[in-house]
Subunit: 206 residues, 2 copies
DNA sequence: GTCTATAGGATGATAGAC
DNA sequence: GTCTATCATCCTATAGAC
């Protein structure tokens, strides 16, 4: 089936295992449909559980989204820190972080769940959480990676553009000309191996 | 009241005038809440008309969103072309376009309506429209402004970062430290006059 | 730990009057 | 050109059994 993260739907798991599983599904589903557009039933189906159980475990759709956003942000920062720590003298720091960011596309919906949150700044609950998460990333670049403000800004900007191209599902549907292909290529350095195999397509609902 | 675009709510207007008025409201509302999150009643209230009338004029919520997206994209390109044409030798092309982009923040929700659309790539109707609109902007940079691919990409990236900071409503609520203030400043060159007066705040619902 | 059944509240769209 | 009234659908959340 099309569920992105289902693992042995029939089994009885610990609450902790289920949480993880549902969070994965939530990131995929929220990423594709957004906070309001995604239903708790979408998430439940993707995780292979019932809709009321999702609500039961997380309390509300809002809490579920906050948990998914927190999880995505944590995973992003963890991956960045790994890239920073892997003291590969061959490859400069910024290059390693950029590669890590693109590799993270394997986690379906991660970039887009964050992007959706970043667009909801006027939401009374999600807004503040989104601002906190975004600030965490900024501080990583400044304090941990050692970028100056300009470098950090440029880096973040490229990241937001990547998120946009991913959200647009730009890969296989580029209207009536080739300029979009050029655009897409110029965003993903050709040195990166299999980008095209991990980028979500327009016919992929999640 | 809080309606962003209400003009003489009681008057009887031509269909064309009403369309314009409702489109303005739709851009503001969709920008703040997203395609799914915004209701046709939100738009109606912001425009000072009844909810069924909004649906009547545009056929459906989906068509209304497509119209709003098209309108926003048109206005963006028109503004860019104006900036390009104003042959001000003092200021280089890219600087003029950047300034025009920031000035467009006066049109509430314009940047964010586009950003929301760009996140809905897997939507069967909105996805293709969003890809077309984005490609139009890319082609403007390449074919009309004369940027090379690298320059166009960098420019687009900075734009997406600006959209993000606007969507986050980052201006007046920056959590627990000053790093966010720094981040915000580094995105908006201080040469720009009154950015802070036209940027939407976190307590502004639209 | 997990499900079925369902209440209750929006919300998009239609019918029809003025 | 514009409104009021209303239907039908969808969706979150709760109740309660196993």
């Amino acid at each position: 089936m099309s569920s992105p993260v289902t693992a042995d739907p029939g089994r009885r798991l610990s609450s902790e295992e289920r949480r993880e599983q549902i969070l994965r599904a939530a990131i995929a589903v929220f990423g594709a449909r957004g906070y309001v557009g995604a239903t708790t039933d979408d998430v439940a189906k993707a995780a292979g559980v019932s809709q009321p159980y999702v609500v039961r475990l997380f309390g509300s759709k809002e809490s579920l989204f906050l948990a998914a956003l927190g999880d995505a942000t944590d995973e992003l920062l963890r991956t960045f820190r790994e890239a920073l720590a892997s003291d590969d003298a061959e490859v400069p720091i910024d290059k390693r972080i950029a590669t890590a960011y693109v590799d993270l596309l394997r986690v379906r919906g991660l970039h887009q769940t964050m992007s959706h949150a970043y667009l909801l700044g006027s939401h009374p609950v999600i807004g503040p959480a989104a601002r906190r998460g975004f600030a965490q990333v900024w501080r990583f670049f400044r304090d941990e990676a050692g970028f100056d403000a300009d470098k950090a800004r440029a880096f973040l900007a490229e990241g937001m553009l990547i998120n946009t191209m991913i959200g647009l599902r730009l890969v296989d549907d580029y209207g009536d000309d080739e300029s979009v292909t050029e655009m897409f290529r110029s965003c993903f350095p050709s040195t990166l191996p299999d980008v095209l195999t991990i980028v979500p397509r327009s016919d992929d609902p999640w």
